[in-house]
Amino acid sequence: MNGQFAEEEWKLLLDLVSREFGLVFQDSRRRHLESRLTPRLRVLGLESFGAYYRYLARHPERGAELRELARIVTNNETYFFREAHHFDLLVQHVVPQLFVRGQPGSLRVLSAGCSSGDEAYSIVIALQGALLDRAGLDWHIDACDLNPARITQAREGLYEAGSLRACDELGRSAHFSAQGERFRLRPEHRRGTSFFEANLAVAGLKLPAAPYHVIFCRNVLIYFSEEAFHRTLSHFHRTLVAGGYLFLGHAESLIGRRSDFQPVRLSNSIVYRKQDTGA
């Protein structure tokens, strides 16, 4: 399949990415994706995207290559305290609604599509900054991503300066130690975090610390197909406690798309609360 079937090869590949990972790529990103996949063709000794598709579809070693593909298609950038008001909402509004200050409690959070862990660690820093640990709160933060390289980086806790772009000088020195031109997260901010590889878009996903009080899934769903979007949201609904909260990115909305999450205005932001549908 080549020449006049180039469009067909491309569609087969995109359908596979959508099927396996729930991700949708617009045509405008085609060249970008092609240039990122071309080195894989060289490594595998393949001459065309059609041959690459067939490899991914039927080769006995497709599993390993799908992991490589996941790494390539999910290489999204993030940084510490991205949309910082969300972390304020967590400590000022959400936690006080769920737990009584001064009494022991255990908060369970999922950072879904955590990339290199910036979000999960930002949550820890925010909870510690509000002295909630001293007020009797314990926490467990599960953080998962499709990209195994990102999970490795998250576990390592070593970041480029770009990941700290939203931190001021004080924040940098308080939470990180310089290591050459990079920055290592201080060990105390790793407390209660657990990173693992997971594909949010597959049916029957097992999440270790479910049910969660809060799920962060920001700037992930915008890349999902309609089907994967709904499958993931249904999964979140099942894995949240009654009245649990879902935080999405500012460009993402469930209004008019899901009836099982209620939009809630906290401060000047919209977050979503699980509606008990009885379903």
Partner: protein, 658 residues
């Protein structure tokens, strides 16, 4: 709304899909067209395009009580393409002006040449909405036959002037330049006229637009003027700078213009910045050159900027030295990357290999490569050995561009006892340069104990001209390391080395991962002599190899291929059937028409896509009814292939006699 109701939507989707094969199909599709779930609606639209007639769908266009149904019907008619054209054309002439308006819009989206003539009379329609839709449609369809009428509309009904200017820009016909320039003074129309002149790109518009640009202080219009001027300059590579009669050469306007362009060059808006760069170069606003060169590391800008600077080569060559000493490293790197240096620049450029900034050093390597400066070979070889990864990579690229003899500098890198990494870097240079120097050392490394070196040396040998190296490379097929053997197979294919075919065939019984590559290599080499071996292997090979065997046989096109592929088409694995249908439609003759028609009804869209292409390839009038069905396929790609195929049939107006 979905969510708790998600399972309901999925259930409705399943019901709809099941109904597509039942007696109540049409009714189920119509219900699906107004479903609350976009997922169900989209599926219903695809099915409507496939199964409902244009007449039925057009009735929904008239339903102004139900916007969802009307929108869905519009989408379905658009997907029907040529099949819907005759009825849509009749609707444009009908008494219901609202329906006629929608019909024109749909014809515009379908964008089939056969509708143009039907749209032309509508430019004078008494209903201005229909006339405007026709203007927009003819612009979208880039119909040059509409240009005289559109020019007339530029001074006609004010309602239509804006659309007419836009359409003339889209069509891009130079006949419109004069009439558009005459409307530049119309404040309401000016921005659209400027955009249209930019799109047309004709040089006659340049000076009038430039004169407006230097005198304009209305920002949106000024930016629009700049975009248009840049588009014209880029569209006319023969223009050597801005004509002397333009006002921008007057000293009193150059300062203000330079400030305006300088401000744009540091903006994130890539299009405006690039347009500013075009004018900086053509108007020789040299004081803005550092800002332009500092932008050069932006992705995608490199080739463009080099091309621009070549247009002012003489001045760039005369004034590059201060830029090379600029305090901003981005300017120094940009200068090295993009300025077309002349003879004698070598020493100054080579001095930049000592720059404290790594990007400047890497850019210096590339500049020396472009200069093909032999005296830089030693310095580049040092950068290759001891530079950081980027510097080493650019030094390798530069060395590969130098005159062949310069690569003598690499002799120390290939000696026994040198580290593996250093040897690999040197071999990469020889490979890029397609050099046969250091042949003895390279051949020795092809038998080194380290697999990475053997593989790299084989790659160098793979670039040797003629067939002298073939035997040395074929020896790599017996390497103890599988990765080296696989790399050897790829090298032989790239050399189109048919001499290696017997050796490749001999290795076919190997059960290791090599066989997958051997099969593919034999296909790419069109090694028809191996066809019977591959067919014999097919029965016992694992699935992924069977798929590649079919692909290889498709490439070889041996006798008896069609019979073999017919058997494969009966297999259950979808990927096998897909590659088999690909080969079948390529090899099929007129006698296979019925078999291809059967493939056109396959449940898999890829197989149907191949059938559509195959029917077009045969070019028989008898294929037309089947292609008209495929042109409404639920999968848009199949529909597009079928429409292209219809265009190749003997009949030249698809759709009109459907």
């Amino acid at each position: 709304m979905t969510g708790g109701a998600l399972s309901d939507a999925q259930q409705r989707l399943a019901t709809l899909q099941a109904a597509a094969a039942s007696a109540g199909r049409d009714q189920a599709i119509v219900v699906g067209l107004t479903d609350a779930s976009p997922l169900v609606r989209q599926n219903a639209i695809a099915l409507a395009a496939r199964y409902l007639t244009p007449e039925v769908l057009a009735e929904f266009l008239a339903d102004d009580e139900n916007a969802i149904l009307r929108n869905a019907a519009q989408a379905a008619l658009e997907r029907q393409g040529p099949h819907a054209i005759p009825h849509l054309v009749s609707l444009t002439q009908g008494p219901n002006h609202e329906v006629a308006f929608f019909a024109v819009q749909i014809l515009s989206t379908i964008n089939d040449v056969s509708a143009k003539q039907a749209l032309l009379p509508l430019l004078d329609h008494t209903d201005r909405n229909i006339a405007q839709a026709a203007v927009e449609a003819l612009g979208h369809m880039r119909a040059p036959e509409a240009v005289p009428a559109l020019i007339r509309l530029l001074v006609g009904d004010p309602w239509l002037q804006f659309a007419a200017a836009s359409a003339l820009g889209r069509i891009g016909d130079a006949r419109a330049v004069g009439p558009l320039l005459e409307r530049l003074d119309d404040e309401l129309l000016a921005e659209m006229v400027v955009e249209a002149l930019g799109r047309i790109g004709d040089a006659a518009g340049l000076v009038p637009l430039l004169d407006r640009l230097v005198s304009s202080d209305r920002l949106p219009l000024r930016d629009q003027l700049l975009l248009a001027v840049a588009a014209i300059l880029e569209h006319n590579p023969g223009l050597r700078g801005v004509p002397a009669r333009a006002r921008l050469w007057q000293p009193e306007v150059r300062v203000g213009l330079g400030e305006y362009l300088g401000g744009l060059l540091v903006m994130h808006d890539a299009l405006l910045a690039r347009s500013a760069g075009v004018l900086v170069v053509h108007a020789e606003l040299w004081e803005q050159m550092p800002a332009l060169l500092a932008r050069s590391p932006d992705p995608g800008e490199e080739g463009w900027l080099q091309g621009m600077l070549r247009r002012c080569r003489r001045r760039a060559r005369a004034e590059w030295l201060p830029l090379l000493r600029h305090p901003d490293p981005r300017v120094r790197a940009g200068t090295l990357l993009h300025v077309p240096f002349g003879a004698g620049a070598g020493p100054a450029v080579a001095a930049c290999l000592q720059d404290q900034d790594a990007e400047v050093r890497a850019a210096a390597c590339l500049a020396l490569g472009r200069l093909r400066e032999p005296s830089a070979a030693a310095a580049l070889a040092r950068a290759l050995r001891s530079g950081d990864a980027r510097e080493s990579e650019t030094a390798a690229r530069a060395l590969a561009q130098l005159p062949r003899k310069s690569l003598a500098e690499l002799a120390p890198d290939l000696r026994l006892g040198v580290g593996e990494e250093q040897m690999l870097r040197a071999l990469a240079v020889l490979e890029q340069a397609r050099s046969t120097m250091h042949q003895e050392g390279v051949r020795a490394l092809a038998q080194d104990s380290r697999p990475a070196l053997r593989q790299a040396a084989l790659r160098v040998l793979g670039r040797y001209p003629g067939h002298a190296a073939d035997e040395w490379i074929v020896a790599g097929l017996r390497d103890e390391d599988t990765a080296v053997r696989i790399a050897t197979v790829e090298i032989l294919v790239r050399r189109r080395c048919r001499k290696a075919i017997p050796a490749l065939v001999e290795l076919l019984p190997a059960g290791d991962p090599l066989r997958y590559h051997l099969v593919r290599a034999l296909g790419r080499l069109r090694a028809r002599v191996a066809a019977s071996r591959l067919q014999a292997l097919y029965g016992e090979a694992p699935l992924h190899e069977r798929i590649e065997i079919v692909v290889a046989l498709n490439q070889m096109a041996p006798a008896g291929l069609l019979a073999f592929l017919r058997q494969v088409l009966d297999e259950t694995d979808i990927e096998l059937r897909r590659v088999a249908s690909d080969g079948f439609v390529r090899a099929a003759g007129v006698r296979e028409l019925d078999a291809i028609v059967a493939l056109a009804r396959d449940s898999d869209w890829v197989v149907r896509n191949h059938a559509a292409w195959g029917l077009g390839r045969l070019g028989l009038p008898a294929a037309k009814p089947h292609l008209l069905v495929l042109a409404r396929d639920v999968e848009p790609l199949v529909a597009r292939t079928a429409r292209a195929a219809l265009g190749r049939l003997v009949s030249d107006k698809p759709g009109l006699d459907a």
